[in-house]
């Protein structure tokens, strides 16, 4: 018997000026998710069940960029993607281009468990979701006011912004920074402080 360990993340690339209350909010959510995982491990749940449980919790809270609170595409809609992998037999499942699936990580798990494939995307993934009977919601469910504001700024700066968590009061500086930085990705300027 070994000993258990767990780690969670909510994205990389953070505005150095992120307000303290936003930092505390993020730490509280990370702490809550860690405790959820620890309690599952203490109940001897298998690792693959624990990672799905914790990521579902992170997808449901709008604070980070997944599920509810996801970053918006150029069309102002949400297209989500996720993957999951079980170490012992290296089984895996992945999905992309999801627009109605409330918890993408659970659909990725079903691809691994209930399909002969490893990866389903866009309409095929959505059809699989309907067949599997997972919870479906309107794309609106995933969209937050804050991200609508972020998208507007990103469009004004004609930039791809990695981390929508940059607070709106510094956003214009962030987005402007992207205009001034020489760094390009796919022909569009990217903002150094705004990676995710």
């Amino acid at each position: 018997m070994g000993s258990w360990a767990i780690a969670v993340h909510g994205g990389a690339g953070v505005d150095p000026n992120l307000p303290l209350e936003r930092q505390e909010e993020a730490k509280k959510l990370l702490n809550r998710c860690l405790l959820l995982g620890i309690s599952a491990l203490r109940s001897s749940l298998p690792a693959i069940d624990v990672v799905e449980l914790v990521v579902r919790e992170l997808e449901t809270d709008p604070l980070f960029n997944s599920g509810r609170g996801s970053a918006l595409s150029e069309k102002g809609t949400v297209e989500m993607e996720a993957s999951i992998m079980d170490g012992p037999r290296r089984r895996c499942g992945a999905v992309s281009g999801l627009t109605t699936v409330k918890n993408p990580i659970s659909l990725a798990r079903l691809v691994m468990e209930k399909s002969p494939h490893s990866y389903l995307a866009f309409e095929g993934a959505e059809e699989f979701a309907r067949k599997q009977g997972v919870e479906l919601v309107d794309n609106e469910y995933f969209i937050t006011e804050e991200n609508v504001g972020m998208l507007k700024l990103a469009k004004e700066a004609n930039a791809i912004v990695f981390d929508y968590r940059v607070p709106t009061n510094t956003c214009s500086a962030g987005a402007m920074a992207s205009v001034e930085t020489p760094l390009q990705m796919n022909g569009l300027p990217i903002s150094i402080y705004n990676q995710e």
């Binding site: 990370l30 860690l34 170490g87 992945a94």
Partner: protein
């Protein structure tokens, strides 16, 4: 992007990653999160979940590289994480979390910060954002 990696009491590793992608991304753009071996990987030895500049993580096959340098070069988990963050990202910016079969936990990032938390059965627990 959000992620979780676990090794349970039986030594079984697993990893999961989920994301909305990039703000203002082209419709149909796929990042690293759904790509096994890039944004997510789990094997006998370890489990990894990545976040950051998707295109750089894909080029580096970052998650699998952590497992590979452990397997082929015999690096420890933290050394493997430090190596791939330092050597494999080129100009890219990213971070990752990892656990290993023997109950270790590690993380690394070359961005301004990473929202992360980790805990082990022997009572260690940490939540952080900055270096």
């Amino acid at each position: 992007t959000v992620g979780c990696v676990v090794v349970d009491g039986q030594g079984r590793c697993a990893a999961a990653t989920s994301t909305g992608g990039l703000m203002n991304k082209m419709s149909g753009r796929i990042g690293d999160s759904p790509l096994i071996g890039s944004g997510t990987y789990a094997g006998d030895l370890c489990a990894i979940s990545c976040t950051g500049e998707g295109e750089a993580i894909i080029r580096a096959t970052l998650a699998r590289d952590v497992a590979a340098v452990m397997e082929y070069k015999g690096l420890s988990l933290q050394d493997a994480v430090d190596y791939v963050i330092k050597e494999r990202l080129d100009e890219g910016k990213a971070g990752l979390i990892a656990v290993s079969k023997d109950g270790k936990v590690a993380y690394g990032f070359n961005t301004t910060g990473m929202f992360r938390g980790c805990a082990t059965e022997d009572g260690f627990m940490e939540v952080g954002i900055w270096e």
